[in-house]
């Protein structure tokens, strides 16, 4: 076993790169490592992915291993399920997570259920990568943050990296997993830079959270874009309020122990996740912490997210809807 850690501890050799580059490096390394791995999706080949993640991979690996599909999410997601059941390890890109509405049948009833329904005799090594989040003026059908749906669905693992090192480590673990994993990438953080272990052996175990900054007064459990914004906020508040920032990273399974340990220390919790607040990822974190850590809490838990609306087009409206650091700050102020 490698000395996997979320922060890359034990892997001293790092490079600064963006989240986009970190994911691409993960894909490249796994394509090189395992012949059974291939990437497919709309425009992932010559075009390099509509958000540029697959980039030049087709040049290195060719069109058999980095393959463009027709615009048919149900067709190619279903094909990935059949392909995974028969001995290959497809990595599917679904351009915008909103489009998962188109192929939900294959995810919901086939990918998630086959192993259990068939008595544990099928492996399902499918990785789905998809993008989430507002902030691009892309309006409601290209801006959703829908990971709660799929994290809620039994039989699927769901991860959502907040940093470049998380993006690389989680992508590699997802591809190596014999279980289906969906990676939810927030498109606003593709340009975020960070230190990333360059070792091919660097992975992050699914089901772990990462303490990205230690603090004593309040815990902020964040996902995706909210991780970086919370880290910047923690820096701003240093000397005034000591903020511990955790990148939740794995939505299912969830690293409850790391959350409980942190709340035991700080006594206060803010959950920041760019998804609708009702019945959401926030609620799952809150439920787990209060079930097992209720007596560690010194104040009510606070949620920061989207106020149960879709994402509007107009920049004036979109900016109003999306959660930001100032919302996290307000939540901290309410409890500290």
């Amino acid at each position: 076993m490698s000395t996997d850690t979320a922060s890359g501890e034990g892997f001293s050799d790092t490079e600064t790169m963006t989240v986009r580059e970190a994911i691409r490096q993960a894909l490249r390394e796994e394509l090189e490592r395992d012949e059974d791995v291939y990437v497919m999706g709309e425009d992932v080949g010559t075009f390099g992915g509509v958000l540029g993640v697959t980039g030049d991979l087709v040049e290195q690996f060719g069109e058999t291993r980095v393959r463009d599909t027709p615009i048919s999410e149900a067709g190619f997601t279903g094909a990935a399920v059949g392909a995974a059941a028969t001995g290959t390890r497809p990595v599917v890109e679904i351009m915008f997570s909103d489009f998962m509405g188109v192929c939900s049948e294959q995810i919901l009833n086939q990918m998630a259920k086959n192993r259990y329904m068939f008595g544990g005799k099928t492996e399902m090594p499918v990785t789905i990568r998809t993008t989430e989040g507002g902030g691009m003026g892309a309006a409601s059908q290209h801006s959703g943050t829908i990971h709660t749906w799929f994290a809620h669905l039994p039989g699927i693992m769901a991860v959502a990296p907040g940093t470049a090192h998380a993006a690389k480590g989680l992508t590699k673990s997802a591809i190596r997993s014999d279980d289906p994993v969906i990676i939810f990438e927030n498109k606003q953080i593709y340009e975020n830079e960070g230190e990333v272990p360059v070792s091919e052996e660097y992975t992050i175990p699914l089901g772990t959270a990462s303490v990205e900054r230690e603090g004593d007064d309040v815990t902020v459990v964040a996902t995706q874009r909210m991780v970086g914004e919370s880290l910047d906020l923690a820096e701003e508040l240093a000397g005034e309020t000591s903020v511990e920032v955790i990148d939740l990273m794995s939505l299912y399974p969830m690293d409850t122990d790391t959350l409980l340990k942190s709340v035991e220390k700080t006594g206060r919790l803010v959950v920041a996740d760019e998804s609708p607040l009702s019945y959401g990822t926030h609620a799952e974190v809150v439920a787990r912490v209060q079930e097992e850590g209720f007596f560690s809490l010194d104040a009510p838990i606070q949620r920061v997210g989207v106020a149960d609306t879709h994402i509007p087009f107009s920049p004036a409206l979109e900016e109003e809807i999306l959660p930001h650091a100032e919302d996290v700050r307000a939540a901290i102020d309410r409890v500290v």
């Binding site: 190619f76 997601t77 279903g78 059949g82 392909a83 028969t86 086939q110 068939f118 544990g120 005799k121």
Partner: protein, 343 residues
């Protein structure tokens, strides 16, 4: 099971045997359901035996199939064990899915049977994926999707076929037109006379064959398999057939009459094929009856053993979700149970 040579007498008898096994298995399953023995829903394949047996007999052992909610016939034609199937119908641990799947979800991936499926149009994209694996790995394997006329109205069927056609994958698509999508007639669900017209849109060969004639189905699939294995891409075959039973057992069938059913029973696939073999001297009427009695006795025995078999332990409900250990499942299970439990 390797492909069967329909030209030989051994092959012909094997084809007859498989059709009889399906008839006996599903007749028994229908009786058990009527007696309140089986939980859940049961969808029988009786009447359609020539399609499953004709098609699968033309495949090679290593080939894959995807099936439907009416999947018992496909399982038997693919060589699955009728005791383990019966045990699955009862929800017993000895079943193919350890009692987790039931009639609608029998699968045996090692045998190339990628699952019966409760979603009518889900199979074609899965078969396309299995064909993709074969092409990707350069293996001599073909994937055949069975689906019903009702499924042809579902979008994912067309997406699966389009992808297989575009990538020249070794796939065969066989629509079993049994003339009803659940309780609605085929002509009220589609505007075309022959569903094989679908093939034209994908620029792949499309045929309609007599699905009551096992030889016709066999020959069409044999040719399609060859084309697929040669890298010439998928074929779309419509087999014109009929289900003698309702959509599900207990269906009161207001949508048709006994007379309608009798018209098809006059062309019964097993009877027709047997008569042809008797005429050719490949089998005698006595041998046929002996074969049938033997099969029925075996199915009877399997049903009795399945009834007597053990149910899974309740704790097995928490197994098989993931290959990896996911702590949530046991933690939550412990909490939900009366005896409690702690992390």
């Amino acid at each position: 099971m390797v492909s069967i040579d329909i030209e030989t007498e051994d092959g012909q008898r094997e084809i007859l045997r498989r059709m009889l096994t399906i008839r006996a298995f599903d007749t028994k399953a229908g009786e058990l359901f009527a007696d309140g023995e089986l939980p859940g829903f049961v969808h029988l394949y009786i009447g359609e035996e020539a399609v499953g047996v004709g098609a699968i007999s033309a495949l090679e052992e290593q080939d894959y199939i995807t099936s439907t909610h009416r999947g018992h016939g496909h399982c038997i034609a693919k060589g699955l064990d009728t005791y383990k199937m019966m045990a699955e119908l009862y929800g017993k641990r000895d079943g193919y899915c350890n009692g987790k799947g039931g009639s609608m979800h029998i699968a045996d991936v090692d045998a190339g049977m990628l699952g019966a499926n409760g979603i009518v149009g889900a199979g074609p994209p899965l078969a396309t994926g299995a064909a993709l694996t074969a092409q990707y790995k350069g293996e001599d394997k073909v994937a055949l999707a069975f689906f019903g006329d009702g499924a042809v109205a579902q979008g994912q069927v067309h997406e699966g076929i389009n992808l297989a056609a575009t990538w020249d994958l070794p796939a065969v698509f066989v629509v079993e037109n049994n003339h009803f999508g659940e309780a609605t007639a085929m002509e009220d669900q589609h505007n075309v006379e022959h569903l094989s017209a679908t093939a034209e849109a994908y620029d792949i060969p499309g045929f309609t064959v007599d699905g009551m004639d096992v030889t016709a189905v066999y020959e069409a699939v044999k040719e399609a398999r060859e084309r697929a294995a040669n890298g010439e891409g998928p074929t779309f075959i419509e087999a014109d057939t009929y289900r003698y039973e309702g959509h599900f057992e207990g269906d009161h069938q207001p949508y048709r009459t006994e007379e309608d059913i009798d018209l098809w029973k006059d062309r019964d696939a097993i009877e027709t094929f047997k008569n042809r073999l008797v005429e050719a001297g490949a089998v005698t009427q006595d041998e046929f009856e002996e074969m049938r009695d033997e099969i029925e006795a075996e199915i009877e025995d399997h049903a009795e053993r399945a009834k007597a078999a053990d149910y899974p332990d309740p704790s097995e409900a928490y197994e098989d979700m993931f290959n990896a250990n996911v702590p949530e499942i046991n933690d939550f299970a412990a909490r939900m149970r009366a005896d409690g439990g702690e992390r």
